[in-house]
Homo-oligomer: 436 residues x 2
């Protein structure tokens, strides 16, 4: 039984859109210049967002700590000492020129959830921990979910030295610059025994909810993602002086590669595969010089692990053939590779029960994007709840979710948390009786 | 008759490779960081190269002036006052990460030519002017031959405001920053009556001379060049969340455009057409965002003016169809458009005569690249002389011509200048007798 003050009946209020709007607005101000929000992984701006979150949680009576990876964890104690925690959270960093909801909505949902519990004077049996993960976006270092992977103990120390941003700064150097210790970060993962369950609210970044009219979407599957970097080296020379047949044009080879990836992912045998060249740069990048060197990324996603890896192999094979024909040298590096994940049913069912309790239309769906939930799920049973994205847009300044839609998500999340608190308490009691 | 001191027999020495090597080496040091030489049009570095050239010419007894466009002109007086000048020259700016010979070889050839005349104590009938043109390379502002076009009165004032570099600086602003006045530059072209003939020595930037074993190449035709800038706007969104069929990927559209241009220029009906996308940039340029905006250049060259324009029209038409199919918005702007040019035979014949006199193997050939000679030829009869480029490479750090090969070019150039001085003097005498 969830306990209210003096054991009076506890009435949980509804999440308020204006609270959510205010918090999202304050966070959006912490951005580099240019369109949308740019608050990169392991940057000073990201730390300022974490500090703001920490302040909010502290004001709500939580104790706040930062782990070695830079994840900020706010704890609201449970009624029964020694129980593992219920976790709720997402991330506060963004891509270049991204939106104000990706990740942020899930952290703000956690703050609003604690506010609702505090206003109702409700204490859960389990401790509740609201988490802001560090460095979820792969935009800066090419690897997604850095903070949650470190929490899950999935990142070897040397990887932090090997991942670099556009300016050549390694992830470990970036960590040191903001006062984090990469050695500790790689060594000190979270203790699985300390966590009972984890829930992440996130914007969908697709159109399924919008098209189906559902308000929330418990996620059953998260796509895997294989990320490669390609370097093509041709022969730069004068555009006027060099006949077409004598050329080794690195950009023409890269153009073929872009279309090879697109064509393969669009064919009938790859329904569900998504392949994208999102980043590309040309050297010397002059109107009158045939491109000598082109560097680009490839991101291949799938909900089928085998099809994901087959697609990568096939694209690389075709690109190699193109480069041989064009006398262009090819170098391919694996930046990151994660498999698709099936999310555990029993945690997801708590979200479904919450939606039913509130009569909120829901739809179970898959996620094309990877999320911190995927990493945490490797050691704590985890659920992921989507709220709608307008026009499916994400990673762009126009990314939008109505604040009332986030609030509805918080309400469902709150019921799920309370439901899990109750059901886990009951099963722990049964377990402890069985131990006697 | 060419006059030596005290009318003693005049013996012209041979150009010396070590002089040429020294001058080219000194100029190559005036470069931005990074590979090769970067000394952009209308930059302070370019002005320093002009100042070094001015110093050399001044040391050789020439009077040096700078015109409103920033072209530096060194004059060695002729024996007969009032005659129009014989001009010799090229440019001192470079592309990004270019070589040390493109343009520079022709200016250094002019310096060495004056040294040869001075050492022989030889004075021409006509004044000899060695010119270092400003801003020949289109790499910075997208338009080639800025200094020589201004000298030829071919550039309207507003164009100087409209052309901008990567950082958004207009050409007129760049001119002001280095102390030039764009108003005067556009208004004050050279006086055609002041010039009798012009000769430019330049590296070939192709392999024709190397393959044929010729030491020098008088040019009969210069390709035209049409330069366009394309902006494609698609819909940026999350690479994981967006199905392949829902995409408006600006980079995939641009990749098709790159291959459309290459395919068209390589087909049987376009032998001689050269089409290149040399510059391309992607926004937001993130691994996990579908490209929303891609900007790129297209350079189409041909020795046939009609085929050049037909190729451009056909490429743009096919690219428009691609963009319609892909729901990508297309904006195309014309940056520059010059027609192919036939160089006047009688000036070229002086170069051929010079090569024959010295028993230097020559080959008449066309030029794929545009040159200052093309602009000056619009108002002064002009010739262009190529020296070999190793492997045909140009606009790259590996661009190379042996210093002895440049020296051979100077020797041929010197004979051509002396020959023209004599033949023009003779015809001017005939003309003045006829006037009597």
């Amino acid at each position: 039984m969830t306990r209210g003050k003096l054991d009076a009946p506890v009435v949980l209020g509804s999440a308020r859109a204006e609270h959510i709007e205010s918090m999202i607005g304050q966070l959006a101000e912490l951005s580099e210049g240019g369109p949308g929000v740019t608050r990169l992984a392991y940057s000073p701006l990201e730390r300022r967002a974490h500090a703001l979150f920490a302040q909010w949680m502290s004001d709500l009576g939580c104790s706040v700590t930062t782990d070695a990876a830079g994840n900020t964890i706010a704890e609201r104690p449970g009624a029964v000492p020694g129980r593992p925690a219920i976790g709720v959270g997402s991330h506060l960093d963004s891509v270049y020129s991204g939106g104000r909801f990706d990740g942020i909505a899930g952290v703000v949902a956690g703050v609003e959830l604690v506010r609702l519990l505090a206003e109702a004077g409700m204490t859960l049996e389990h401790p509740l921990r609201i988490v802001a993960f560090a460095g979820e976006e792969g935009a800066r270092f090419g690897q997604a979910c850095v903070g949650s992977k470190l929490a899950a103990g999935l990142t070897a120390r040397h990887v932090l030295d090997e991942l670099t941003d556009r300016s050549g700064t390694s992830l470990s150097a970036a960590m040191r610059e903001i006062g984090l210790d990469p050695d500790s970060a790689a060594a000190q993962g979270w203790d699985a025994d300390d966590w009972a369950v984890f829930l992440e609210l996130h914007i969908e970044q697709g159109k399924v909810l919008e098209n189906s009219g559902a308000a929330v979407g418990p996620v059953d599957l998260i796509s895997g993602s294989t990320r490669l970097s390609f370097v093509m080296t041709g022969r730069p020379s004068h555009t006027g002086g060099t006949p077409m047949l004598n050329r080794s044009d690195a950009l023409a080879a890269a153009a073929e590669a872009v279309l090879i990836a697109e064509t393969l992912a669009s064919d009938d045998t790859h329904r569900g595969t998504r392949a994208t060249v999102g980043r590309l740069s040309v050297e010397p990048n002059s109107i009158t010089t045939i491109p000598g060197r082109v560097t680009f990324s490839l991101d291949v996603r799938d909900i089928d692990a085998d099809r994901q890896r087959r697609a990568v192999t096939e694209i690389v094979g075709r690109v190699m053939a193109t480069c041989r024909r064009r006398k262009v040298t090819l170098e391919v590096n694996l930046i990151a590779d994660t498999s698709p994940v099936v999310m555990p049913l029993w945690v997801r069912q708590a979200l479904v029960a919450g939606a039913k309790e509130l009569d909120v239309p829901y739809r179970v769906l898959g996620s094309g994007a990877s999320h911190d939930a995927q990493m945490i799920n490797t050691f704590v049973p985890t659920a992921l709840l989507f709220v709608p994205s307008r026009d499916g847009l994400s990673h762009v300044p126009d990314e939008w979710t109505e604040f009332a839609q986030v609030a509805t998500g918080v309400d469902v999340l709150a019921r799920a948390v309370i439901g899990l608190d109750k059901s886990m308490t009951a099963s722990e009691r049964v377990a402890s009786k069985e131990e006697l």
